[in-house]
């Protein structure tokens, strides 16, 4: 199914919407259970490795995106709001392996709804600093332009965590 992907520089938000032909319970589980998240969160050949996940308000997911060479890019997602099978929000920040966050981070808002067995997922990612987003994008391009595909992948992985 078609995916919508919109970048709004005015509101500093990236919005992604996608429908899945599965019921809400299944899709919600895939987003909220670490053993399922780790199966799809990292685009291949990267893998996702969740070290800690406590899905409740005030809890967090501390995980790494792992490159085929074994390089780890850590991030921590702190849950700020959860409405079961409807919505959850978290604050995302890159981190070192000891879980020290690198600020500023981004606010994620994920909405789920079901109609006729199809589940719609709408994700909005708000960056408190658009400059940060743009800088990361620019840096990503510099690497890409130099055909450093490997580094670009690392950067993308870091960005999309």
């Amino acid at each position: 199914m078609q995916m919508d992907f919109i970048v709004d520089k005015q509101t500093k938000t990236v919005s992604i919407t996608k429908e899945f032909e599965y019921n809400l319970s299944l899709v919600w589980a895939a987003f909220t259970k670490p053993e399922l998240l780790d199966q799809w969160w990292a685009p291949k050949p990267w893998t996702s490795r969740t070290k800690v996940m406590d899905f409740k308000v005030g809890g967090r997911r501390f995980y790494a995106m792992v490159s085929p060479e074994g390089n780890e890019r850590w991030a921590v997602q702190k849950y700020t709001s959860i409405t079961p099978k409807t919505n959850f929000k978290f604050f995302n920040a890159f981190a070192d392996k000891d879980e020290n966050p690198e600020l500023p981070g981004s606010d994620w808002d994920l909405n789920f709804s079901e109609q006729d067995g199809t589940t719609r997922v709408s994700i909005s990612i708000y960056n408190e600093s658009l400059e940060r987003l743009e800088r990361m994008i620019e840096l990503g391009f510099v690497e890409g332009a130099k055909a450093q595909l490997k580094n670009l992948e690392e950067l993308l992985a870091k960005l999309l965590q």
Binding site: M3, L26, A29, A42, R135, L139, G140, F141, V142, L155
Partner: protein, 108 residues
Amino acid sequence: MRRDVFQAIADPTRRGIIALLALQAMTPNALAEHFHTTRQAVSKHLRILTECELVKQEHQGREIYYQLEIEKMKEIDKWLEQYRKIWETRFTQLDDVLATIKKQKDEK
């Protein structure tokens, strides 16, 4: 020595330097005035950024100006296209996972 671009942007002072150089080319002295640090410290950051090929030096008379090695804004769109593709990949993988767990449930 080859450096990792993440190293370049991991440090707040270096991020500040990149932000300033995004506006205009500057000398190390002019940059140092913006930070609570020594000129030597700024020079060290500039060396790392140079090694990462994120900045380059330009001699103007006796002064050395540093400028950002960054392409024009339109190129951001190319990057965003790649970001979008990554999300597509991710969701394709999610579709596969959903299909697998649904099958497992149906078989039970």
